[in-house]
């Protein structure tokens, strides 16, 4: 965890130095006077040796000084904290969508045979549907949903964040992919558990199909929970694109704006914050699976 953290901070710090040529030139353009250039260089701390710059950057991060936006002149951390709740709200609803749809479809993938005897129609349909949804990126699903639901049917607003109903389409867009992944995992995991000896024992004792499923489900959920947390990163990356589609005022849009405006401190702040959340969720996934299944622990 700690080496990764240092590496991530280092990478984010180095990004500004990876720009071909001089970042100051890129910011000011050709017509800037040498005095202006020098002033900006000093303001950004780019005149110092690289090592010193890095130490300054890290010590600044530690005390909550994440730099100042080159465009609005506001402290980066303040803007980040302003924008973060919108992203968290979107991610929360996306996860609700993912869990509900995933659980429903995942069990349906198994239950198909119970409903229609030997026919595999339902599980095949679920399989195909989840495959298509998984292969559909958020920036494709989003505009399609807007066309059908917002414009065609006129049920919800096209974009922005006004009122509770504006979260519906972004959450569906962002949650669908994760839902499909979860559904497939639940189906595969359940299929494995249903063949286990303890399920056979339940069957031998005369337990109904439903009863067997109940027993198997509890064990089958373990890898699913693990996968869920591992996929939080996918949700975050997807959130950047989803926010761009719907003009959602969160961190993702902030990142894209700052990349377009070459607002380096803001861009670094966004990347750093998102990476931190990503890393914490991976850590949580590890800890959770160790707690749920004693066999996993070290």
């Amino acid at each position: 965890m700690l080496p990764t953290l240092i590496l991530v901070v280092g990478l984010v710090f180095m990004l500004i130095h990876m720009v071909p040529g001089d970042p100051v030139d890129a910011l000011l353009g050709d017509r800037a006077t040498p005095t202006d250039r020098e002033a900006l260089r000093v303001a950004l701390g780019l005149n110092l040796p690289l090592g010193e710059q890095f130490v300054n950057y890290v010590s600044g991060l530690a005390v909550g000084d994440w730099g100042v936006s080159l465009v609005s002149g506001r402290p980066v951390l303040q803007v980040l904290l302003e924008r973060a709740p919108a992203t968290a709200w979107l991610a929360l609803w996306a996860m609700v969508v993912a869990i509900c749809s995933g659980a429903l479809l995942g069990v349906a993938g198994i239950w198909g045979r119970a409903l229609w005897g030997k026919s595999k129609l339902l599980s095949r349909l679920v399989n195909l549907a989840t495959l298509v949804v998984m292969a559909t990126p958020t920036f494709v699903l989003g505009p399609l949903l807007i066309v059908v639901v917002a414009i065609g049917l006129g049920w919800v607003p096209v974009s922005g964040n006004e009122g509770w109903e504006s979260v519906i389409l972004p959450a569906l867009t962002l949650g669908a992919g994760l839902g499909a992944v979860l559904a497939r995992m639940i189906t595969a995991s359940l299929r494995g558990e249903l063949r286990a000896d303890y399920v056979r024992l339940v069957a031998a004792k005369g337990g109904s199909r439903r009863r067997r499923l109940g027993h198997a489900l509890r064990n089958a959920l373990l890898p699913v929970v693990q996968l869920f947390f591992l996929q939080v990163g996918m949700v975050l990356t997807g959130a950047v694109l989803t926010e761009a589609v719907f003009g959602w005022p969160g961190l993702g849009n902030l990142l894209v704006e700052s990349l377009h405006q070459r607002d380096y401190p803001m861009m670094q702040g966004c990347l750093l914050l998102i990476s931190l959340v990503y890393m914490v969720s991976l850590l949580l996934a590890d800890m959770l699976s160790a707690w749920l299944d004693p066999r996993v622990g070290n």
Binding site: L11, P20, P143, V147, V240, I274, S275
Partner: protein, 276 residues
């Protein structure tokens, strides 16, 4: 007859068919209609589908059909280039790690863990944006960050193979290590790598489209599916079809590749799950 039945219930067959339909269909349609993906024709702005523009024209009067075909070409190009880069980095590293073990294995494994604990697409996004757009940058950014899968997969496969007697026999017979790798090790771990390769291609196509959608990927005059989606979302209320076309084509491509991958994955796994 049984063979035919098996063939039509196989996912990889349907996937290949879908890919052929999208790629060959668009290519043929453009060859017949003769549309131009780049030329701006102002009288044709947002033209409805006609004999000249089979799918209409976009907000700059460019032929939508030709831009779709161009976008597919770009997608496949990026997908294959990223595949080449990731294979070139990932497979040798995985081979070395799995074959020699020891500290080389530890170092390489640690590096892959670090890369995995980072939101890769976001880093690619920042890299592509900062280094200045263009197809080469996009390919490089995605390739440099995407090799981990190949590395880990190759490593595990090689570790499994390493214990088998025929490799020991080859070594005892004095076959040079590089020859053993090329002749015995790599062909034997090829099957799961092919599945991974397909997933990398699909992932890169989506990533490129995502970057272009954000305006951080390919330059706007180059036709790309992501760029078309971006232009289309701005005209949603005027011409919703401009979004639908590239969306359908991109879904066709990624679903096709994913279906082939899924079909092959089942065969590699032993195929006891039966057809889809």
């Amino acid at each position: 007859m049984e063979k035919v039945r098996q063939l039509v219930t196989r996912m990889e067959v349907w996937g290949t068919g879908l890919l052929l339909l999208v790629v060959a269909g668009l290519w043929l349609a453009v060859a017949v209609s003769g549309g131009d993906a780049v030329r701006v024709v102002l009288p044709d702005v947002l033209a409805a589908p006609s004999a000249v523009h089979w799918l209409g024209a976009d907000d700059l009067g460019r032929d939508v059909l030709a831009r779709l075909a161009g976008g597919v070409r770009v997608s496949l190009l990026v997908g294959l280039a990223v595949l080449a880069i990731t294979v070139a980095i990932g497979v040798p590293l995985g081979l070395v790690a799995g074959w020699y073990g020891g500290w080389a294995d530890k170092v390489i494994l640690k590096v892959t863990e670090v890369v995995l604990s980072f939101p890769g697409l976001l880093l690619a996004l920042a890299l592509a944006a900062l280094l200045g757009g263009g197809m080469a940058t996009v390919m490089l950014a995605l390739g440099v960050l995407g090799w981990v899968g190949f590395c880990r997969l190759t490593r595990v496969q090689v570790q499994k193979l390493r214990q088998l007697a025929f490799l020991e026999a080859a070594q005892l017979a004095g076959v040079p290590t590089w020859k053993t790798w090329l002749r015995h090790v790599l062909p034997n771990c090829a099957a799961p790598l092919v599945v991974e390769a397909l997933l990398v291609v699909a992932g890169s196509m989506v990533a490129e489209a995502g970057l272009s959608f954000l305006g951080l990927g390919l330059p706007p005059e180059l036709p790309s599916l992501g760029g078309m989606l971006r232009d289309g979302t701005r005209l949603l209320l005027v011409a919703p079809l401009l979004v639908v076309y590239p969306a359908v084509v991109l879904i066709g491509l990624t679903v096709g590749v994913n279906m082939v991958a899924e079909g092959l994955r089942r065969r590699v796994a032993g195929g006891n799950e039966g057809a889809a």
